[in-house]
């Protein structure tokens, strides 16, 4: 017997706890994934390379969102942790001959351990003070990258062996695309699941009200450290992929600039939101590229002011970010949920 319901009714807790609540959303998401896998056949190498950078940024942004957005501990050491992952993975592969598939998770675990060490101040420090402590992590690690030559090659950097799977070598944009997109999807799924189970909820509880979290039986220090560990694991993976993608890594890439860039991603995308990390990563990677296209077009059309426009590109970038913060301080994820709520009731506003 078939029954048509005049609404979206759930008959079991299992149904009610689904991430993808309706068949429509399920179809959308699965077709998006299929589209992602077909994408390299449809797009130019340049576009694919951009998506590769976005994919890595998504993993890194998820990482920093776990510690900053979900657990409420501002981390400014993101850039350096990326470096730890990249250098560690490269070292494991070069010196110990470990294949990438094992070296990448190992680098993730190693970065998690380093992240936990620098997360220890979180026992006593909160908010801005913790941010300064993580800033110290950034500078200490940057210094180590430059001076521990045997691991990092110093200022010259080191090459990063390409991942191999039997006869396939991942050394082109197309092949790396599949690697990056697969890992990124796994990272998104894992993070989504994490935040609907015990430990993820505990992270958010620590962020929202740490005193009552403790009263409810959450061991504060353990969860603060754990969030640093999980976050740094993600960042380590992102760093490894970055290394595999660029094939050559130098300390220059892992500076405070990168840390701030990632922080901006999650603030613009949405703190404490998995989707927000994706939006932020896409936005912050595409914006400079779009601006380059626009300014070069403007320079072509209006040669007299073209140079001027080129030189204020960075300024426009900053302006857009600030405008975003003023008009949408809760991030793109929040805006998206407002849009969804609007269309759900359309054309009746309530």
């Amino acid at each position: 017997m078939s029954v048509n319901y005049c609404g979206d009714f759930k008959q079991s807790y299992k149904d009610d706890m689904r991430v993808m609540q309706t068949p429509f959303i399920r179809i959308c998401i699965f077709s998006f994934i299929v589209f992602l896998y077909a994408f390299p056949f449809l797009a130019s190498t340049y576009v694919v390379s951009t998506v590769n950078v976005i994919g890595i940024a998504v993993i890194g942004a998820l990482g920093i969102n776990i510690v900053t957005g979900f657990t409420g501990q501002i981390s400014l050491g993101q850039g350096a942790f990326l470096g730890v992952g990249a250098f560690a993975c490269s070292y494991f592969m070069r010196e110990w001959g470990i294949p990438f598939w094992v070296a990448m998770p190992m680098a993730g675990v190693f970065t998690a351990a380093v992240g936990m060490v620098f997360g220890i101040p979180s026992l006593r420090l909160k908010g801005l003070y913790l941010a300064i402590a993580t800033l110290a992590a950034q500078f200490i690690l940057e210094y180590l990258f430059l001076h521990m030559d045997m691991f990092t090659g110093g200022s010259n950097g080191v090459y990063f062996p390409s991942p191999e799977a039997g006869p396939v070598v991942f050394d082109t944009d197309q092949s790396m695309y599949y690697l990056i997109i697969t890992v990124a999807i796994m990272a998104v799924v894992f993070a989504t699941n994490l935040f609907r189970s015990k430990d993820g909820r505990a992270f958010v509880a620590v962020r929202d009200h740490y005193l009552s979290a403790e009263i409810m039986g959450i061991h504060l220090f353990r969860y603060r450290l754990l969030s640093f560990a999980v976050s740094s694991f993600y960042v380590g993976i992102a760093g490894s992929l970055w290394g595999a993608y660029t094939q050559y890594i130098t300390p220059e890439h892992f500076t405070i600039h990168e840390s701030i860039n990632y922080l901006a991603m999650i603030i613009i995308g949405g703190l404490g939101s998995v989707l927000g990390s994706i939006y932020g990563a896409v936005f912050m990677t595409l914006l400079p590229q779009v601006l380059t296209v626009i300014t070069s077009w403007a320079a072509h059309v209006l040669p007299s002011v073209g140079d001027l426009i080129m030189s204020i590109k960075e300024g426009i970038f900053g302006l857009i970010v600030i405008l975003f913060l003023v008009f949408e301080p809760d991030g793109m994820a929040h805006r998206w949920s407002l849009i969804k709520a609007y269309w759900k009731l359309y054309p009746f506003s309530y």
Partner: protein
Amino acid sequence: MDRPAIQLAVEDLHLSFGGVNALMGVGFDVRQGEIFSIIGPNGAGKTSMLNCISGRYHPQKGKISFEGQEITSKPPAARAQIGISRTFQNIALFKGMTVLDNMLIGRHIHLKSGFLKGGIYLGPCQREEIEHRAFVEDIIDFLEIEHIRKKVVGTLAYGLQKRVELARALALDPKLILLDEPMAGMNLEETEDMVRYVLDINQEWGVTVILVEHDMGVVMDISDRVVVLDFGQKIGEGTPEEVQKDPAVIRAYLGDEESVFLGR
């Protein structure tokens, strides 16, 4: 008459912040299954007392034991493990989370799937989540908050937030629940509802209740026993009737004799 066993024993508790003595040699016993109220004027040390029991403050001197086990120096999280739960005077919910998630935090100590299982979710973790969701739904049903279960707590009205906080404390499945002014700031109807819930929690679920409350009508109506604090010292203890007749209590807390019990 057979008196139930002592569940929580507080002995000679001293707590001071610098030069301010919040508690000076307070001691009392709370028996299994009773509603035990702590009253006193503002600044008497009631909330400090609850904070000592729940582990947020550590007294300088004295002993607190729960079911025969000394807990004086245990951290708050460990006290939750052995079945002590509480609500706060100023709502201390997780404002960015939904009502359901807030309550599932209450289930935290009973959940076993760590972050690895949680990230994979399928299998044992999902089964566990569903099982605990069912437990939480019972409490939602009991406190009549079905309509807001998926709302973010920060958006709810004050009275509902108070109720959600009680729901979260109950989700822990406590043996002893500490309620810090659960009726504060509520209208008459909400107060009456809350009293009904407290009585049901106590009688149907068999949870011992320690209540701090300023609404004397409520305290005198539902308490089995009352302890009165003033300036960090215990000035009276006994059944509501005994406390009401105690001249020291009347002097310190309730003003002159005539206006005393004309409250609600």
